[in-house]
Structures are given as C-alpha cells and as structure tokens.
Point group: C2
Chain length 114, copies 2
C-alpha cells in the first residue's frame, strides 16, 4: 500500500488535469474536500468523484506496472549499502581514500533522494 | 530515445494484450512482421497497425511519466559510484573492511541489473 502522493508523483501525468489538480490539492496540499470544492467552484460531490476515480487509476497503474514498488526496492537496497559503507573502519586509510568513501556515501544518499 | 524493449519492460502492461504480444515478438523475440502474422494468423497489416499503435502508446507514456529516463539516470549515477569505489586503494585496510567494500561494489552492480 503506497502513499497516494508517491503514486501521484510517478503516475500523475496519466490522470486528467482535473483529477491531478484535485488529488494534488488533497494529498500534497492537505486541502479538505470542501475547501477544494470552494477553490475550484465545483460541487463537493464532484471533488469526491474525481478523487475516487483518480485514486482508482493510480492504483490500477501501480498494479499493472509496479514502478513505485520497483523504485522503493532499489531505495531499500541502497539504504542497506549505505549502512555497509558506514560500518567500514576507514581509520587505516589515507586521507584521499577516506574522502572517496565519504563521497560514495554522499552520492548514494543523494541518489536516494532523487 | 529509448529502446522499445526497455519501454515495453516498463510500460508494457498498459498496452492491450495483443499489442504487447506483437511488440514482444518483434522487439524481444526478433520476429519479422511476416513471421508474426503467420504465427498469430492475422494479416501483416494488422501486425503493422498493432506495432504502430503500441509504440505510440509506449512513447506517450514515457513522454508523460519519464520513468525510464529516471531509472536510467539512477543507473548512470550508480555506475559512477562504482567507478569511485574501484579507484579506492584498499591495500591498507584489514581483510574484513576490504570484504565490506567488495560487498558494496557487488551490491551496487546487482542493483544496476535489477
């Protein structure tokens, strides 16, 4: 079960503009359904329907493509690798090699946030 | 511009079964259009149309979602990190720490093939 905001990040561009706009306001912007209805000048029921259909489309894509799960698996593995690197005792290494290991660690962290 | 087989791997499940089957035979199985027509007992024109529409759908998804490009970027960065790791002179390290660095390297390679 993935957070809607992550599914939106991956698959949002396959939704209708209206669905994306409403899901983005609700799940990333923390707007209530009532607030979105007011903001977009549509009915609360319209907001609800768009959220329901948009969510179903996002879950359907993840069920079919599994790309969020694939990304998450890679992140977990990268996180394990960072732990491995941090467990290495680098005190016997020269400054240059210590710096390289530190750089590897920082690069891996940065990949994880990409 | 990505290889069709990579787009198929990522987005293939969003195609119709027939489109997927035909693109898979052509781009992964190296079947010609004529061979596919014979194999599936449909017209060569039908094969051609399915390839044309299927490819368009794949490119459309990559244009919208960019997930193949996102994965490829991460792979390139991981490949750079592996190079960094390989440049480290580990001769001053104890066996245990050398083993850890080797393990990190292998894990990263394995992530790249995932």
């Amino acid at each position: 079960m993935y957070k809607i905001s992550m599914l939106l990040d991956f698959y949002g561009q396959m939704l209708t503009k209206r669905q994306y706009e409403i899901l983005d306001l609700h799940y990333n912007g923390d707007y209530s359904l009532g607030e979105i209805a007011q903001e977009l000048d549509i009915s609360r029921q319209g907001v609800y329907d768009n959220i329901k259909r948009g969510k179903a489309a996002l879950f359907d894509m993840e069920n079919k493509l599994g790309l969020v799960s694939r990304f998450n698996r890679q992140k977990e593995r990268t996180s394990e690798i960072i732990k491995l690197l941090e467990a290495i005792d680098v005190s016997a290494l020269g400054a240059q090699n210590r710096k390289s290991i530190e750089k590897v660690r920082l690069e891996l962290r940065s990949i994880m946030e990409d």
